[in-house]
């Protein structure tokens, strides 16, 4: 009887521990599955090609420097767009990922522009940095091929942007939380 009670107590304790661990894990991950910035509804320029591929609505998330970042809804699902800030509603690039975004496994959608200047090398530099990040991401670092930080940009209202970028090769990006902990690294 005593043995049965002890085993039962152990099982209950183990189950409680599992639930607690799961909740803690989930609560830590939740901010990486959200984008709280809903922006405000804007009209996409009628002359734009984007109206015709199933775009239902567009919300301006932020204007940073010379750039405007949009959250889009299309027939195929959510998309992210960007364009020149001086021409509100004009989209120049659209990314429509299929599948959940953001998630802890993919908390960043990078719209940065990369440049190669050599035919022989796959080294690329950063022409412009911009993108969208989940709530829990507070900064993005662009890394050199040797792993050192080439550029670190803050994330504000889920958006990051840097129009001025350092020269030299970059080979990926890393997302950090408020404590400086690495949350994600680009493939």
């Amino acid at each position: 009887m005593k043995l049965t009670l002890a085993v039962a107590a152990l099982l209950v304790a183990a189950a409680a521990g599992t639930v607690l661990a799961t909740r803690t894990h989930a609560s830590e991950r939740a901010p990486l599955s959200r984008i709280s910035n809903e922006g405000h509804r804007v009209a996409v320029q009628r002359s734009s090609v984007w109206n015709s591929f199933g775009l239902r609505s567009a919300s301006l998330l932020a204007v940073r420097g010379a750039r405007a970042i949009y959250r889009l809804e299309s027939k195929g699902g959510p998309c992210v767009g960007a364009g020149p800030a001086q021409e509100p509603g004009k989209l120049g690039t659209v990314d429509c990922p299929r599948g959940p975004f953001p998630t802890s496994e993919r908390p960043v959608l990078d719209l940065s522009v990369y440049e190669g200047a050599s035919h022989d090398s796959h080294d690329v530099s950063l022409y412009r940095a911009e993108g969208l990040a989940a709530d829990g991401v507070v900064s993005i670092a662009f890394l050199r091929p040797n792993g050192t930080v080439a550029l670190k940009v803050p994330v504000s209202a889920n958006v990051y942007e840097a129009g001025v970028t350092p020269s030299g090769p970059v080979a990926g990006l890393v997302a950090y939380d408020a404590a400086g902990k690495e949350l994600w690294r680009s493939p």
Binding site: G54, G99, S112, V113
Partner: protein, 140 residues
Amino acid sequence: MTRLALLFSVIAAAAAIGLAQPSSAAAGWCWPSCSGYGMLGPGTSTANGCWYYSEVCSGWGYWYLNGVSKTCYPGCDPYNGTNGKILYGFENRDRIRGNFTSSYGRRYVQPGELGMGGYLRAQVTWWAGTTSQINVAVAG
């Protein structure tokens, strides 16, 4: 204007079936065709003098839009990421520019977004990892 309207209509049709653009009627250039997907991996080439070796690129033109549709091939993780990384955008005689992606989905970019204009080639480059299954449609 008629040309632009036609382009809009085919892009709408493309969105409906998931290709970057399905019709050969209005696309300036498609790869591998305007109605199907092809494999872009190490060594894949259109053999027309692209910037990189493992790259497909259009001919030279005054291009307006590069649309790329990437599938899950050869497999997606639960978040629709793949191991195949591509660079898509444009190139001229001095440089190649674009955005990276390794995820299932559709992307569109205009040359002006990349700080480019004039006489260009549209391009998609295999960058790393596994072969990607893509459809490319470029409008001018």
